[in-house]
């Protein structure tokens, strides 16, 4: 497992995990996937039932793909603007983007499991661990169509990745077990 800097270029505040079985980091991998029509069509086709569950407004596979592609462009543009803001401090924007993984957590602490929830998208999620108030490590992401992460295999897998990354960060001496907490974006 490796940590890859995402942005800003000088003094990075967002990092992403690159797992040993992947050629690119999670941040790059997810945006590649979410911009891929074939992947999205296949994903929503396999999860059609969840598109008509109580959690989502009933919509077709094609509508879901189109919606996701639009949301992803806006989400990526927003992140790109933050990345290109140069000398300006993106702290406030990053704090606004990330929120605790567990909805019951209201305080910001180090090594908190976090999620980046783009306000315009009902289901795009990035999962992260807060290292410092404005410093995050992206551990993965998902298209979350159900209320709880444990409800589906692909979101459950993201919880396992969060745990795995947490253990790695503790092993590297970045923090101790006591000060650790999960966050979600």
């Amino acid at each position: 497992m490796n940590l890859i800097p995402i942005f800003p270029k000088e003094n990075p505040r967002i990092f992403a995990v690159r797992y040993d079985d992947q050629s690119v980091d999670e941040f790059e991998r997810l945006f590649d996937l979410w911009n891929d029509s074939e992947y999205l069509e296949s994903f929503f086709y396999e999860n059609q039932k969840d598109l008509c569950s109580g959690f989502n407004r009933c919509q077709s596979v094609d509508e879901a793909v189109r919606r996701t592609l639009e949301d992803v462009s806006r989400f990526e543009d927003h992140l790109l603007d933050l990345a290109e803001s140069g000398d300006r401090d993106p702290s406030q924007a990053l704090q606004a983007l990330f929120e605790p993984l567990n909805n019951s957590e209201f305080r910001i602490i180090n090594l908190q499991k976090s999620k980046a929830k783009y306000w315009r998208s009902p289901w795009l999620r990035l999962y992260a661990i807060r290292i410092d108030v404005n410093c995050f490590v992206i551990t993965g992401g998902a298209i979350k169509l159900t209320h709880k992460m444990n409800d589906r295999e692909h979101t459950q897998f993201e919880l396992e990745k969060l745990e795995k990354a947490k253990n790695y960060l503790i092993e590297t001496g970045l923090t101790d077990k006591e000060s650790f907490e999960f966050l979600i974006i």
């Binding site: 911009n35 790109l80 180090n110």
Partner: protein
């Protein structure tokens, strides 16, 4: 551990080379206009393949292109030529491009022009009345015979 110590530690264990995301995101933003069309075409192709129970390999044979080329097309990342679009349309029996002959805005502009220009409106009315006049052909015939 202080915030500064955490940052220093984090920087020391992270890789030096940044993620490839930034460059890819910039390229996607720069090509957004045609990528949107490419993604829409990809979705239509994928839907048709499912409906016709046809594989991507079969489509590649029909188009006489490599399966890798079809893979790029259905991912919505290919800047397609009109020739390729026409071939896909023919192979799948679908329409992927509809270019309107006239833009609605041009029709609106013309009607606005006529409503404001009395003489132009009268001239068109006279032409229409002449073309619809049943005596018109008779007059012409008489003129010809007289000549």
């Amino acid at each position: 551990m202080t915030d500064t110590e955490i940052r220093e530690k984090l920087t020391s264990i992270a890789m030096e080379k940044s993620s490839g995301w930034l460059e890819k995101a910039k390229t996607r933003r720069g090509n957004r206009a045609w990528l949107k069309r490419s993604q829409a075409i990809a979705l239509r192709v994928l839907r048709t393949l499912r409906e016709k129970e046809m594989t991507q390999k079969e489509l590649s044979s029909r188009l006489n292109v490599s399966p890798q080329q079809i893979s790029k097309i259905v991912k919505g990342k290919e800047n397609l030529t009109l020739e390729t679009i026409s071939k896909i349309e023919k192979a799948l029996g679908i329409s992927l491009m509809n270019v309107p002959l006239y833009e609605k805005s041009q029709i609106v502009e013309a009607s606005e022009y006529l409503s404001k220009n009395f003489y132009a409106k009268k001239a068109i009315q006279r032409t229409l009345e002449y073309n619809l006049d049943p005596k018109k052909d008779f007059v012409c015939e008489n003129t010809n015979s007289a000549a």
